[in-house]
């Protein structure tokens, strides 16, 4: 098996865009004709995916690096939202500026394809550089809490989305197999598919429950159901997007299902902890960006690790 080439990828892209367009039309029609039905609020998610689709197409036509700008921008929005809704210390205002600088640095490393430095940079920045800057500022009250919150904010946004960006620019391996954009498309499509499947199965089957404090819409049935959907779809689409064998496709399908589920739950727990009101209609700045990236927080790093393990 020699994996997908560019023409396969073009076909796959067309089909995925078609599904996105169909979803947009159906959702719009439902809003129009069944406005009082309890529809999931996915309007902003659909817009977000169209933005991604646009940059993905440009990347396909010109250079995968174009996608880096979009993913970096989403990382910036994510970190900005996180810092806007978590308590921060007045004394750390300038430290936050240095935290933001991790985004251009991280994505520059991706653009240069310096994988080792890319892997090292966020841990070094979070655990070694930022605390030094913080002690120079010199405020000790709330030091540990402020440092931890800042670090995990960078990890859930810059670090995880860095892997999503890196997938897009991965180069074909020594056998000429694979194409980074195909891996990117594979991950994004499957992550969104699993998001939808988990919503659907959680609504359809009410049990076995998870903690209602974390989520009212997801349960163990969501996870099992989405894995059962994810495996055949991954197996079906992998030859059009990836250099995977059937076994690798199935394993990726399971991994993305589990990862999307965990990412959703963890970000739900964060939002619940921050007591953000009305978690269904969130605008960017008050939880909206977190809602968009929850599917990638776990899936992107894990998927990147196994892909580079198989084809590194």
């Amino acid at each position: 098996m020699n994996g997908a080439d560019l023409s396969d990828l073009a076909v796959a892209t067309g089909i995925v865009m078609g599904i996105l367009a169909l979803t947009t039309v159906i959702y719009g029609a439902l809003l129009q004709f069944r406005p009082n039905q309890n529809l999931p609020k996915i309007g902003s998610r659909i817009r977000f995916l169209w933005g991604m689709a646009l940059f993905y197409l440009l990347a396909l036509l010109y250079s995968p690096k174009i996608l880096l700008f979009y993913v970096a921008f989403i990382a910036f929005l994510g970190l900005k939202e996180y810092l806007s809704i978590t308590p921060t210390r007045r004394a750390d205002r300038r430290i936050l500026f240095w935290a933001y600088l991790s985004i251009p640095i991280q994505f520059f490393l991706i653009g240069m394809d310096w994988q080792r430095l890319f892997t090292l940079f966020v841990p070094v920045h979070v655990f070694l550089v930022l605390p030094v800057l913080m002690v120079i500022v010199g405020e000790t009250r709330g030091f540990l809490r402020a440092w931890s919150m800042l670090g995990w904010g960078i990890l859930t946004t810059v670090f995880s989305l860095g892997y999503l960006g890196y997938l897009a620019v991965l180069r074909p391996d020594t056998h000429g197999n694979g194409h980074g954009l195909g891996l990117f498309l594979f991950l994004v499509s499957l992550a969104q598919l699993n998001y939808a499947a988990q919503y659907f199965f959680g609504k359809r089957f009410r049990h076995p429950r998870l903690s209602l404090k974390v989520t009212q819409t997801r349960n163990w049935a969501s996870l099992v159901g989405s894995i059962l959907v994810s495996i055949p779809v991954a197996w079906l689409v992998a030859p059009w997007m990836t250099p995977f064998t059937a076994g690798q496709a199935v394993l990726s399908g399971v991994l993305i299902a589990v990862g999307a589920f965990i990412g959703y739950l963890i970000l739900s727990a964060i939002k619940a902890d921050l007591q953000l009101k009305d978690r269904s209609t969130m605008t960017p700045g008050s939880g909206g960006v977190m809602n968009r990236i929850d599917a990638f927080v776990y899936t992107a790093p894990l998927f990147f690790y196994i892909v580079t393990q198989w084809f590194g």
Binding site: F76, L77, K80, E81, L83, S84, I85, T86, P87, T88, R89, R90, R93, R94, L96, F97, Y100, G142, L274, Q275, L276, K277, T283, P284, G285, S286
Partner: protein, 212 residues
């Protein structure tokens, strides 16, 4: 000049406010698009005026007049040119050296010209992200022009992004909530109380994370 102002807001201010800061505006439909009206927000940052002005359509922008301290914004030639021509401020004399003149006269004149006044009743930017005591100028204005509404606006976040005495902008999302118009209440004190009440109610609509 109108073109220069429109270009400045279109090409510089809006991208900065929309992308680097990021606004959550609530009840935007309450923003008055025609004068005479008084828009009265809280004041934490130099970004306040730019942010508010970026909410108006470019075609209306030249009718919005931020009321600002002459001694601060006219302190040198370049700043004065920018303040008067691009920001279109109405300079007022904070020191009131000349007691015979009426300090509110130019503002009443502007209201008569159907302009929208942007007045920060806190007077100056104060401590970041805290409400200071309101000055009564807006009430005295509507005492003379009872048909003119005061629109209370509560903003949060810009004082974190660019507080007083700092030049380094750190991105934070900002909230802007526009309230219902308030009219002359029969006395300066009652009008100010209504305004204060409205501002507190608006601020309670936000969940403001700690910033100690």
């Amino acid at each position: 000049m109108r073109l220069l102002q429109a270009l400045f807001f279109l090409l510089i201010v809006r991208p900065l406010i929309m992308v680097i800061i990021g606004l959550n505006v609530r009840n935007k439909e309450r923003l008055p698009l025609q004068g005479p009206a008084i828009v009265a927000p809280n004041h934490n940052s130099h970004l306040d005026t730019l942010t508010l002005l970026s909410l108006w359509p470019l075609s209306v922008l030249h009718r919005v007049r931020p009321v600002a301290a002459a001694d601060y914004f006219l302190r040198n030639k370049a700043l004065a040119w920018f303040s008067l021509n691009i920001m279109r401020i109405l300079p007022i004399d904070r020191q009131r050296r000349d007691h015979r003149s009426d300090p509110l006269a130019p503002l009443c004149q502007a209201l008569e010209n159907q302009e929208i006044l942007l007045i920060f009743p806190e007077g100056s930017r104060g401590m970041p992200e805290q409400l200071s005591r309101f000055k009564t100028g807006i009430a005295r204005l509507v005492e003379r022009n009872p048909s003119v509404p005061i629109i209370p606006v509560f903003m949060h976040g810009l004082g974190k992004a660019l507080p007083r005495g700092d030049f380094l902008l750190v991105p934070f999302f900002a909230d802007v909530i526009i309230g219902e118009p308030i009219y002359w209440q029969g006395s300066v004190q009652a009008t100010m109380e209504a305004y204060q009440e409205a501002m507190l109610a608006l601020s309670r609509q936000l969940e403001i994370p700690a910033w100690e």
